[in-house]
Each structure stands twice: as C-alpha cells, then as structure tokens.
Amino acid sequence: MKARVTVTLKQGVLDPQGKAIEGGLKSLGIEGIGAVRQGKVFDIEVESADKAKAESVLRDACERLLANTVIENYRIELAE
C-alpha cells in the first residue's frame, strides 16, 4: 500500500525557511504571494494490505521519527 505523510510546522512556530522563500519569490518579482510555510512529505510503501494496520505502523513512525511533535503536526493519507 502507498501512503503519504505530510508534516507541517505547528501554528505560531517560526519558519525561517518559509520566510526566506517568501523573500526569494518577492525578489524574483513574482507578485501576489503572501505568507509561505514549508513542510515535508514522505511517500512511503507500507507492506501491510490492511488499512488499520498500515495506519498504526505509520502513526508509530511519525511519533517516533518522521515528525518532531514538539513543533510539528502530521497527517497520514493512504492510497486506495
């Protein structure tokens, strides 16, 4: 099964990357862009065919490695 995990910074946490990208876009003259926040995605092959099982494995992976839950949120999506 294929899964996508999206990890984004919690609200209020400073995002220096997003800030720099915002500035970069502006100085390229690209108009009409407001705030930018950057996050990560992980495209993951999960061996299990069972949805509930896959989700629990991924949740474990997020909590323990993929996301830094002190400052980040994560979201898990499973492909059909």
């Binding site: 209020g12 946490v13 400073l14 995002d15 220096p16 800030k19 830094n68 002190v70 400052i71």
Partner: protein, 593 residues
Amino acid sequence: MAGRALFDRAQAETEMIPNEPKITPELVAEHGLKPDEYERFVALIGREPTITELGIVSAMWNEHCSYKSSRLHLKTLPTQAPWVIQGPGENAGVIDIGDGLACVFKMESHNHPSYIEPYQGATTGVGGILRDVFTMGARPVAALNALRFGSPDHPKTRHLVAGVVAGIGGYGNSFGVPTVGGSVGFHSRYDGNILVNAMAVGIAKADEIFYAKATGVGNPIVYLGSKTGRDGIHGATMASAEFDENSEEKRPTVQVGDPFAEKLLLEACLELMASGSVIAIQDMGAAGLTCSAVEMGAKGDLGIELDLDAVPCREEGMSAYEMMLSESQERMLMVLDPDKHDIAEAIFRKWGLDFAVIGKTTDTLRFVVRHKGEVMADLPIKELGDEAPVYDRPHIQNAIEPVLPPETVAAPMANGEALVRLVGTPDLSSKRWVWEQYDHLILGNTVQTPGGDAAIVRVGDGPKGLAMTTDVTPRYCEADPVEGGKQAVAEAWRNITAVGGLPLAVTDNLNFGNPEKPDVMGQFVGCIRGIGEACRALDFPVVSGNVSLYNETQGRSILPTPTIGGVGLLDDVRVHATIAFKGEGESLILIGE
C-alpha cells in the same frame, strides 16, 4: 482589548491601566512568584498589578534574570585584574589582549529547552551566546560548548545527543563561526536533565566596546532583527522551574533558531556600530523585550517608554503581555543617536532586517508600556532590578567523600582489562563524531583543532593567538565541592598552559539542582568558594558567567557541574605545543606530583 474592566479601588491615578484578567493567587503561582515575592511587588508599586506587569515582574524576578539565590555568593568571586576591561554584569566579559585589541567572551546554558527539543534548544543556546558577544561590538571568532547527557543506555540519550550535536553545528556552521572545542560527558544523573552550555569568543577593538547603558533623554529606542512571535512565552520562567513528570506534556512554545537571520544581524550590527549610530545596545535574550529595555534604562538611570504598536510582529493579535515576554530569537534593542536615524535604518534595510523605533528614553525613571493607546504597564524601572529579592538560602556542608589510600582498594580487574574498559567508556572515547559535525576550520585561523588540550585560534593574521577550553569534573564536585570547584579552574588553567598560552580570565556556567534544598545550596556555595580560591591563586579572574539552577527531575538533582571556560593568550601562535608525539625515541617526562 475592548471590554476590559477597569479595576476600581486604589486606581484613581492610573486609571488607564486595564486589569483583566484579575490577578489571583493561582495566576501569581503560575508565574513562578512566591506569595511573599508578590506581596513585595504590590508594596513596591502601591497597587495591584496588571497582567502585563505581573508578566514583567515574573521575568525580572525569576532566578534566571535576577540571580536571587546566587547573587550573594557570586559577589565573592574575583573579577578584577589589570587586563580586565569589563567584568560580570554586561552581555559578556571583556579583557585586553594588547595591540589595541580586546577579547569578549561568555558562556551560557540552554539546558531545559534542549531537553524538550534538543535541536532547537541547542541552536537557540548557541545563537544567544553569539549575540551576547557581538552586541558588545566584537566579531565572534570561536565557539565552544560543554555537554552532559544521561547514561548511554537511557532510552532518550541517543536522541538527545544526536539532536543537540546537530543543533550546535547547525547554528554555528551556518552563522560562520568555528566551533573549536568543548567537552561531552555521560552520567545517569543527567538522565532527565541534560546540560547544554555554549561559549562564544569574539575580538573587538579595545576602545570600541558597546554597552547596554542608555544615555540621553528623548533618544529613540530601536527594535532590530527578526519579528516577534509567540515563541517561548514563559521560557524564562521555565528555565528556572524544576521538571516534573508532566513537563514533557506541557511543551511550551519552543523557540526556533534562524542562524541565517543571526548572520545578517551580526553584519548589520557591526556596520551600524562602525557608523557611530549606537548609544547603547542590548540583546533580547530570555524574556526579550522586558529584560533588555529595563536593563538599558536602569543602567543609565533613565526611564523607558515603549509603544508596542510599533513592534514588528510575526503573528496577528499579539497582546502586550505576549510581546513583553516573547523570546523570539535574533532580536536586539538599541538606543539610537537621533541624528543617525536614516543611516542606521538604511543599513538594516540593506541586510533585509526589521528596524523600528518603538519608544524613547525619558527622565521619569518609569518603565511605561503602551499598546493600542492604553497604558499596559507603568513601573519604577530601577526597583524592578534593584528591589528584586535576594536570598541567603540555607546551605549545609555536605559530607566530603574521604580520600581512599590506594593500598586499601583492591584492583577489581587486571590492568590490561581495566585499560580496555576505560578506553571503551563513552566519557573517554573519541569525540570525533561530535566535532566533525562542527565546522571548526572556517575563518582559517584554527591553529589547534578539537582533539588537543585547548583550542588555539589565531587573532587575525597573527602572530597573536587565543587559547580556550571548557572544563569541569562533576564527580569531583559531588565528592568535595570546594576541591571540585578548584579542580575545574585548575584544569582549564593547565589546558591553556599546556598549549603554550598565558591564562587570562574565565567565564563560568554554574549548573546545579534546586537551591531551595540546603544540600544542593551547599554544593553551590562550596563550588563557588573553590572556584574563587583557585581563580585568586592563579590570577585568573571571572569576567562573565551564567547560573542555571533547578536542574533536577523528580527530585533528583544533577551532579554539581560548574563549567569553567578559560581563555589565554599566546603572543606568537607559531610557538605552541600539541599533544602529538613528534618523532621516535623522544623522552617522556612527568611534571608535578
């Protein structure tokens, strides 16, 4: 802010001041103030404080800013020598190294934040100490650190080590300062409370040092650097609160470091200082705007008025309370020469940083904070610092571990086996894995890289050089605080002399448990006594430092860990010693007892 109820009684003269939410004993306790401390504050201002004022005083009077438990004892340390330009009390210590140059240095802890979020905790620790050095007009030329982690087999240790090391490197490498030395130790007593002490060393012209003392009435107060967000609100309070089992849940808003912004801030500040625009400047560290503004005013015997509407904010709807307590990183506060406004602003714009006039100096000796037209705080500025509580906490002298005569100790194993065991311990193993993640070669002046006794960094094109080291042996301090304190200083001294340097001065970072416990306070007092004695004997004054108390988890305190950062001078770096054998057939000589 609409709909704020005005407090009725005793408020006639300060009617503007909103009083919502009402201050309750719970709120006071949440701010880390003891009931008698709160009473002291109420007596001082003659009325009930606003929430913003409570926040301000909690920041000013917490252990981290007020040194209330340690002040009495710190005063006993020797801080003077003919080569000392500035001792403790400023952002960093300053010593004269000849030829019109000064060395500016300090060490500071970021222990609790690093346990909660090791990468960001370590980065913001490094960022803070670098700012302390360049606020004084010095360009940072080296960084060091002293790290203590829990037992290697504790389940959290691996994660903490990896995060802290990556964070220290992540910040220093990007900022562009070589991280040239430090120490790493492991012990189960740090399982729930690691230590991250960061030191920075800079070079300035001896007659171009910048201080925090504001001068002149009506001068603009300028906000510099990155925007203010809700980072680390309550961080300063947290840094002085004991951890309990729940602290991992509480997870206050973590500060995130931006070394890129700091590098720009460095370049902009040095350019600004060179332009002659700066009257006084202060880094916004713990409890950012509050501590920096109060300190600048109080030192200069001036009042300060701030208008928070002008503060560059990252988030919408920030309250006065939040702005006053935010610990967003990479920010500075300065008193500007009004004639140089345009020059100064142009420099900051060029580097893409915020520059905002947010207030002015006054002759009222009051600290007045306005937001959306309302006065949110109006406090006597000198008393906020001067009247902070000072405690002579009870301390007992701990039982000193006896010295065991060697003949009474049976060898637990054969020498060969013992040697192998020792070499394999995490404390003695090679730290290459750590320092290879730090750029220790940038700037092209690192004469002695990590791996020697003390690091050596050439000053400019030479021939002068600085030797520096961080040292402490916590188990000695536990066994005998006075001797342990002495030993830490002596080791720093020896490491500097071993590379050929003349030891000049030290910075210290005193990491201890809960000072309200007489035995912990006894360790603290003992170590300071030892440090003082050794520094006096060696003519090695303390010019800056930092105290970190309440390092304990579930009632168990860390080993007493007074880290000593020593700095020495080599007149000619070409003449220095290293630990490597230079050839076959050389003689080995043992010096000392």
